[in-house]
């Protein structure tokens, strides 16, 4: 029995220690305004880790206090996290939703408490959001098509590998791509591979089988582009492949020369802009409802 109590006491002390060492002495004064709450969808993905680092760096630069909670990709945990943030008295809430539908009730809860909400990367279906910050996917699609026109030539035969049908990223990247491609390129094939590398490999293999004269491939994300590289390799063809996102694997493939280019998102910029926007909201300044974040072409 004594041992049991001892163990429990130790457990509690560990918590005290961890809670204590991470924090400065200002915990008592959390109710004061000016604190920003940031709920991130997951920190098990480099993209969102970079976004979090962007948030932290900019908050530090501006001298703002930010509380960060990690939903671990569970929408129910995100709802809990956000109610915790609202309880601890934040002035602005930055949310990177796990799911656009499921986040709505949390946004509405913040609305009910008059806490302004900013969404990053993924939007909220319902509830009032003062600003939504996301990559300019339409422009990114256009950049991909222009790059192909530039490097492969006008009226080049190109295949498009789409993401999950209906997803906003699929729609917007496809729309941007076709804005340019419908005029200046010949799109000979268009199929979905659900943003998945293996499916990208299979779909690209089928496309190359049916259209052996394809010169370029645009994939809606890097994973599918990396799958397409394998397909081209197996078919013994050299194809100009462009991906989207700028993941670490894709960067490496660009350096190796297997991937022609990737349209890189800038999660650190998203985080930085989110904090800038939050600061404006705290000061009572007006902010744009939709804030596009620039993309950049990564090529050798």
């Amino acid at each position: 029995m004594k041992k049991l109590l001892l163990l429990l006491a130790m457990a509690v002390m560990v918590i005290g220690l961890v809670a204590g060492c991470g924090k400065s002495a200002d915990n008592g004064g959390d109710k004061k305004s000016g604190t920003i709450g940031f709920s991130v969808s997951t920190l098990n993905n480099p993209f969102f880790v970079t976004m979090k680092e962007g948030v932290e760096a900019q908050a530090k630069a501006l001298g703002l206090k930010v509380k960060i909670v990690d939903a671990q990709n569970d929408p129910a945990k995100q709802a809990n996290d956000i109610s915790d943030l609202l309880e601890s008295g934040v002035s602005v809430l930055i949310i990177n939703p796990v799911d656009s539908a499921a986040i709505s009730t949390s946004v509405e809860a913040a609305n009910a408490k008059n806490i302004p909400v900013i969404t990053v990367d993924r939007s909220a279906d319902k509830g009032k959001v003062v600003a939504h910050i996301a990559s300019d996917n339409v422009k990114g699609g256009e950049m991909a098509a222009q790059l192909i026109v530039e490097k492969v030539g006008k009226a080049a035969k190109v295949a498009e590998i789409e993401g999950i049908p209906g997803a906003s990223a699929t729609r917007e990247r496809g729309q941007g791509f076709h804005n340019v491609a419908d005029k200046d390129l010949t799109v000979v094939a268009k199929q979905s591979a659900d943003f998945d590398r293996t499916k990208g490999l299979n779909v690209a293999t089928n496309i190359l089988q049916a259209n052996p004269d394809v010169q370029a491939i645009f994939a809606h994300n890097d994973e599918m582009a990396l799958g397409a590289i394998q397909a081209a390799k197996s078919a013994g063809k050299t194809i100009f492949i462009v991906g989207f996102d700028g993941t670490a694997d894709a960067d490496k493939a660009v350096k190796d020369g297997t991937l022609a280019a990737t349209i890189a998102q800038q999660p650190d910029q998203m985080g930085k802009i989110a904090i800038d926007t939050a600061q404006k909201v705290i000061k009572g300044e007006a902010v744009e409802a939709k804030i596009p974040v620039d993309l950049k072409v990564v090529k050798k």
Partner: protein, 311 residues
């Protein structure tokens, strides 16, 4: 010391842990003990607690149920689909519990008539039910449910200042506490976990007891799924992933032995409160989420070590 007094002391360990946690967190941040945060805490605890109550019965029989999160997701998807196709939301909640009951019952049948070890059987159904959820929903969340206030209230509402999910949790707790401590079914649950051989000789229909505990757990998962569906106003195909671990942790933290036959649902409620308090408190204290996982793991490990010491 007579056995009853001993049982009370065993219950005391987790409670002392919970009280210490409360004291430490509230000393470090005064917003923790505010009434609105305690309400918030109860709402958050309720889903894990409801699942863990069922898990207590299963573990008392010496079994384990890994499929709870998948049952939750599948019954949540079934429920959302019923609502979207025009079923009355209250009826849909009842049907979600029914769907959970059936799925849990299947676990019980596989374990008893199929003679499959509970770990393997529920590991298989965990995958099957999750896959079925993805097939059923096509991998997409089901949203745009209903504006029905009764449906919204089930996950988001308050009655007399108490969150509805917490009220559901307390009602389930009282009913299950009664079953476990005051009925022959409860005694049989302990007996099966204590020794199947002795139970068999005593004339207990072991298979029936086992099917009951898995079906009960399934039903509770269905109810928890209904709460999540209401809370998020949508059914998520990935909902409940990893919830089996939180439920098992709550049971173990509450002092129930994984070997079966020993423990109580009172401890499970406290165990669930400890986990919920850790989640909520560490968020309020603004502890990095990486440390949070380390702390939770250490607390669970210590509880299991304490369980060993008692055995």
């Amino acid at each position: 010391m007579d056995s009853k007094a001993l049982q009370y002391i065993k219950k005391l360990g987790p409670l002392i842990g919970l009280i210490l946690l409360f004291i430490i967190i509230s000393v470090m941040n005064d917003s923790f003990l505010e009434f609105s945060n305690l309400r918030n805490l109860l709402r958050q605890v309720s889903i894990n607690a409801i699942i863990a109550f069922g898990m207590t019965f299963v573990i008392l029989t010496g079994g384990i149920d890994l499929s709870v999160g998948s049952i939750l997701a599948l019954s949540s998807a079934v429920m959302a689909n019923l609502i979207v196709t025009g079923t009355d939301p209250v009826l849909a909640i009842v049907l979600a519990a029914g769907a959970g009951l059936v799925l849990g019952g299947i676990n019980g049948l596989v374990i008893t008539y199929g003679r499959v070890a509970p770990f393997i059987a529920t590991l298989a159904t965990m995958t099957i039910y999750r896959g079925a959820t993805l097939v059923f929903t096509d991998g997409n969340p089901i949203s745009g449910l209903t504006q029905d206030p009764l449906f919204h209230g089930f996950g988001q509402g308050d009655i007399a200042g108490l969150p509805v999910p917490a009220i559901t949790m307390f009602l389930a707790f009282i009913a299950l506490w009664f079953v476990l401590s005051r009925t022959s079914l409860g005694r049989k649950t302990y007996a099966v976990g204590g020794s199947e051989k002795v139970s068999y000789i005593a004339g207990i229909k072991i298979d029936r007891v086992k099917i009951f505990v898995y079906a009960l757990t399934g039903m509770l998962c269905g109810i928890a799924g209904a709460i999540i569906t209401s809370r998020l106003n949508s059914a998520q195909p990935t909902a409940g992933a990893g919830y089996e671990l939180d439920a098992i942790a709550a049971v173990v933290l509450g002092g129930t032995s994984l070997a079966g036959g020993r423990g109580h649902i009172v401890g499970t409620l406290i165990g669930a409160l400890i986990i919920g308090t850790l989640n909520n408190g560490l968020n309020i204290l603004d502890v990095s989420s990486f440390y949070q996982q380390v702390v939770k793991g250490i607390v669970i490990l210590l509880a299991v070590l304490a369980d060993r010491k008692k055995a």
